[in-house]
Amino acid sequence: MPNSSPKASFSSGSKVGLFVTCLVDLMRPSVGFASVKLLEDAGCQIFVPESQTCCGQPAYNAGDTKDAKDIARLIVDAFEEFEYVVAPSGSCAGMIKEHYPKLFADDLEMTPRVFNLAKKTYELTSFLIDVMNIQDLDVSLDQKVTYHDSCAGLRELGVKDQPRQLLAQVEGLIIEEYEEAETCCGFGGTFCVKYSDISDHMVGKSIDALSETDAEVVLGGDLGCLMNIQGKLSRLKDEGKESNLKVRHVAEVLAGMTDTAPIGEANG
């Protein structure tokens, strides 16, 4: 067992509501279980409210304020009782932290509730470093990795050093930064299907930059971006462009759960 020691005050186990996010729930449960392991090892008590679905961001970004509010209310109801809310996604955590308060700016009943929720909501790696101060992950991986900073995590929540501080604790792992780490990969939620030509061009540029490194794996904290990058890598491979670059969510590496197949590949 990893022996990460949480701060003394959390030894009784902070009650953490895990907002697993719809993409992780549907597409890649292993990221959810990796998050649970990391949080439990940090001494937290994990709750997964059944009434969670999506944060409402697709509706919010499409200007559908009404549906966005309806969905957001469900999340507020489901999570406001916990000491902390953690999501393995900068984008979804950013929605709760940055955008719920704006969404309900003219709603006197909801305003204090969304501010309260926003205050205690964290992206996973940010929670592990900024709140739990994890300094001694007991995990190893002999691989060279690079990290893609997802836009919302980076610019809305300031998630930049936290995943790198955690990865630095993984024995044998080498981080090689790539030049376009902070440039949008072109996912952008519905953008990637609505303006697929631009999206495809953008992810192509990300992959050009990734190919400049010797990294074997590209890691990130948001499944949407990772699926976009992997989807393009995989298609390029079909078209004959050789690449052995694998794609994973950072939580799987930090939790030592890399026995499951990388994104877009089948187990076994």
Binding site: R28, A152, E182, C192, D200, Q230, G264
Partner: protein, 472 residues
Amino acid sequence: MVRSTSSQFKSNVKEALANEQLQHALKSIKTGFVAKRKIASERLEEFEELRDQARDIKTHTIAHMDVYLEIYQQNVEASGGHVHWAANEDEARAIILEICQQADAKTVTKGKSMIGEEIGINEYLEVNDIVPIETDLGEYIIQLRGEMPSHIIAPAVHVTKEQVAEAFKKTHTDLAPDRSLEDPDDLLSEARAMLRDKFIEADVGLTGANFLIAETGTSVIVTNEGNGDLTQTLPKVHIALASIEKIVPTLEDVTTLLRVLARSATGQEMSSYTTFSTGPRREADLDGPAEYHVVILDNGRTDLLAGDFSEMLRCIRCGACLNHCPVYNAVGGHAYGWVYPGPMGAVLTPGLMGLDEASHLPQASTLCGKCEEVCPVRIPLPALLRRWRDQVFERDLTDWKTKWGLKWWAMFAKRPALYHFLVGMKMQVVAKFAGKKGHFKSIMLMSGWTDSRNFPAPQGKTFQALWKERNK
């Protein structure tokens, strides 16, 4: 409104992405503007504080715009100049034409002016038998090519130097056809030689203005070629053309804004020339125009001032949001279809032209936030893009695929029990379809994704289903 193709954004994009010369030309933005801004901003310790100050100056000015515009007018008139108010582009064009006709103008030299583009002044002067001559090198190039600018500070950024040489050889037919124009310096000297006489011959000089200073009645232009100075001091009439939000209270405010402008735009500490013009030539002056006119355009801006988009009026047109935008860098400026491209254009264009024409622009963004990160006056561009999207949705301008996709998704997202029952358990079946590949090469109704990318298959049961099993 002036020639817009914003409604054909999607086909514009296809063309732009397939245009190899454009794609080649766009590469210079990252190594040029972006890299230089980074160095310049890091070298100035108080850059972030200056951005706050710049934001506050503009916010204050916008809140009291009527007051400062009146003070400005009084001070222009006190120094012997004339102020003309234009509610829309028709009025602005008519005012300019009248001034030109009264000066019996045959040719008008022009400094770079985005407002000039907005009102289509060149075409208007031409049909009225007055020859407009662009004197900014980039503007000169696109005038020869018969194009609109593709960038607000680098109008010809989409043109390669080979294309410039081609345009010069086609136009400057009295020069030796076999002359070498391979070196950028050759191009520069040729343009300079061609323009030199025009400066002297011109009857009217038309410039834009980066700022109008209320306390002194001064118009300010920043240039790197000195063409603006020759345009506004040599002819006997100078017309400065500006929109209402260029107003700034004091000289000191302008110095603060200048400190963030050049650094954000080109990474320079100051542009090569920063020129302050106050009134016509005075008796003791060695040069300067006999007449000094300022044409101030509204063209929809007071509506923005009163609504949800007033923060957009802080914009000082540095172009940093274009340079740093991954969408702009992918498609260039012409794809946006009108005068203002990139993130600032995606907010401003629907405001000035109407959302029906420009509804694609605020939607064609990943909201990555890079534009807000670099904006010298901290305009919350992603938030403003979202506000337009709210209106796109309210007015039902969303395309049907997206609309129904989202409706369908929201129906499940709002009903957790239904979500778990229908979406939750079935992911295992979906995963089986992908088989040993672990991904899909095509998915119905997801062709936007699968035309160019594979779609990773789900692992199997949902997290929540598995969690329930684990905790039984």
